[in-house]
């Protein structure tokens, strides 16, 4: 284990920023319902969040503070996924800042900027997983599922942080289809996690992969895994968001059937309920879960050979 908390935070923030951008992008395109209130806040925070994570990474480098001029060579090796990451993150931070500026000044950004940003955001999210998945000597990381899992978690946490901040920033906050998006993302993540750990645990990735999985499922990291990641990060939000989604569907129907004053009131009550403390707690819970996932993946990485044991 050579990487610690700074790397965990860096991977987490990379995903969070990328997810926030994509949330606002989706909202802007109308994929989260008409006039979604999430169409700006994600753009505001995306680049700063990723940039902050990148600065943390510099502190983790052995030479980050002593010989920072060496860092320019990080662009040198095109066969290194880390080099790809430096390009992707730099580009995303620049495009993200530009798009954030347009969103902040309520100007319409050129389409090319919005799309380039969305592409780079997706690349950023995938990169954080790909960085790990190409390491053949760490079986726990060496899965093609890693980038998919990280992108899904990035979207989920990005949606939560945007939904969390939007009511404070936007004057006439209106709930869109984000509850539904939450349900799909968390559902997808649960399936991916189940397959990932199922395969790890069954030994498809060799005995060391199985050992790593055991550390997570029943070993020292089991509390973080079951409590923070599965419980707080996935199951609890899944229950809350599904409930809210069903309620809002029902009240919508009610309203369509009998557009009476009472029905309208109850529909508004449901709408109001969405900005309640429960929603805030749930969104925070999703974010905590996303962080726990990065921590588990980094901390439970065992090398294919411990460097000591011989027959």
């Amino acid at each position: 284990m050579h990487w610690h908390w700074l790397i965990v935070i860096y991977l987490f923030l990379g995903g969070l920023g990328a997810g926030a951008y994509l949330t606002s992008f989706a909202a802007e395109k109308g994929w989260l319902g008409k006039n979604s209130s999430l169409s700006r806040v994600g753009y505001f925070i995306a680049a700063p969040v990723v940039a902050f994570g990148t600065i943390l990474l510099v502190f983790d480098l052995g030479q980050g503070l002593t010989k920072p001029w060496l860092l320019i060579r990080l662009l040198a090796n095109f066969s290194s996924v880390m080099t790809w990451g430096v390009y992707i993150l730099s580009a995303f931070i620049m495009v993200g800042l530009l798009k954030g500026y347009f969103a902040f000044t309520n100007k319409t950004a050129p389409n090319i900027i919005s799309w380039a940003g969305a592409f780079l955001a997706l690349a950023t999210g995938a990169y954080t997983g790909l960085l790990l998945s190409v390491i053949g000597a760490v079986p726990f990381w060496n899965s093609g599922l890693m980038p998919i899992l990280f992108v899904t978690s990035a979207l989920s946490t990005g949606l939560s942080v945007t939904a969390l901040l939007a009511p404070w920033v936007e004057k006439n906050f209106k709930e869109g289809r984000e509850g539904e998006a939450h349900v799909y993302l968390i559902g997808a993540e649960l399936i991916i996690v189940a397959i990932f750990f199922g395969m790890m645990n069954s030994g498809v990735y060799g005995p060391v992969g199985k050992e790593s999985a055991a550390l997570v499922i029943s070993g020292v990291y089991s509390l973080v895994f079951w409590g923070y990641f599965i419980g707080l990060g996935l199951l609890f939000p899944l229950v809350i968001f599904t409930r809210q989604y069903l309620h809002s569907k029902q009240s919508e129907k009610q309203l369509a059937k009998e557009p009476s004053l009472a029905a309208k009131e109850s529909s508004e009550a449901v709408q109001k309920g969405h900005h309640s403390y429960l929603t805030i707690v749930t969104d925070i819970s999703v974010i905590v879960g996303g962080f726990a996932l990065r921590a588990i993946i980094i901390l439970a990485a065992l090398p294919i050979w411990d460097g000591v044991t011989i027959p």
């Binding site: 050579h2 990487w3 983790d60 480098l61 052995g62 030479q63 980050g64 002593t66 010989k67 060496l70 860092l71 060579r73 990080l74 040198a76 090796n77 066969s79 290194s80 996924v81 880390m82 080099t83 430096v86 998945s133 190409v134 390491i135 053949g136 000597a137 760490v138 079986p139 990381w141 060496n142 899965s143 093609g144 599922l145 998919i148 559902g187 997808a188 399936i191 991916i192 397959i195 990932f196 395969m199 498809v204 990735y205 060799g206 069903l246 569907k249 029902q250 129907k253 990485a301 090398p303 294919i304 050979w305 460097g307 000591v308 044991t309 011989i310 027959p311």
Partner: protein, 218 residues
Amino acid sequence: MDNLKGKLISRRKVIKIGAIASTALALGIFPGRIVKADASSDAPKNPKQLGFKYDQEKCIGCRVCQAACKDANEWEEGTEWRHVLTGKSGNFLSISCNHCDKPACATVCPVKAYTKRDEDGIVIQDREKCVGCKYCMYACPYHAPQFSYDTGRISKCHFCFERQENGEKPACVHRCPTGALTYGELTTIQKSKGAVSQLEGLPNPELTKPSLIIIPKA
């Protein structure tokens, strides 16, 4: 409510979820990790590739190879370029960088601090270029790259390439009193009697194609 539920989990959604699940499953399996272990006869890409040869029968576990390496190469605080390991049955293994045919360190290093020489396949790491990201420490299955918290950078065995250029043997080989540790062109030492490229429990040689030949105790 019942009607509503029926609508929520429609057939389309079931198909969607099934598609996600099967894609995920396929992606999990694809990077063919079920690689077969095989004998040491695999020819390296470079016919002049140098490698270490370690004869378990001859080794007495004196650790002079380690000390010789430390003296000759002035290990940075906290680094060990060569290890002498002891097994449960009392067998030893002296191991350093294996100057692999497919060096994972060189692939992942973002600053190109690693180079594999054309003339002899030695993998040299330039510590002046290293930024200390430790990515190579994860990539190398043999724990060859060593990080010093003192200097904040990686260093590792370079096969005493400077000594070799002056016509000398690598320090570890030179000082080994029993001749357990030797070196030579990989294609030659692979032909040694009883030569293998992997001991049980060590990484699959297919991963990086190490230039290490072991003659296990019979």
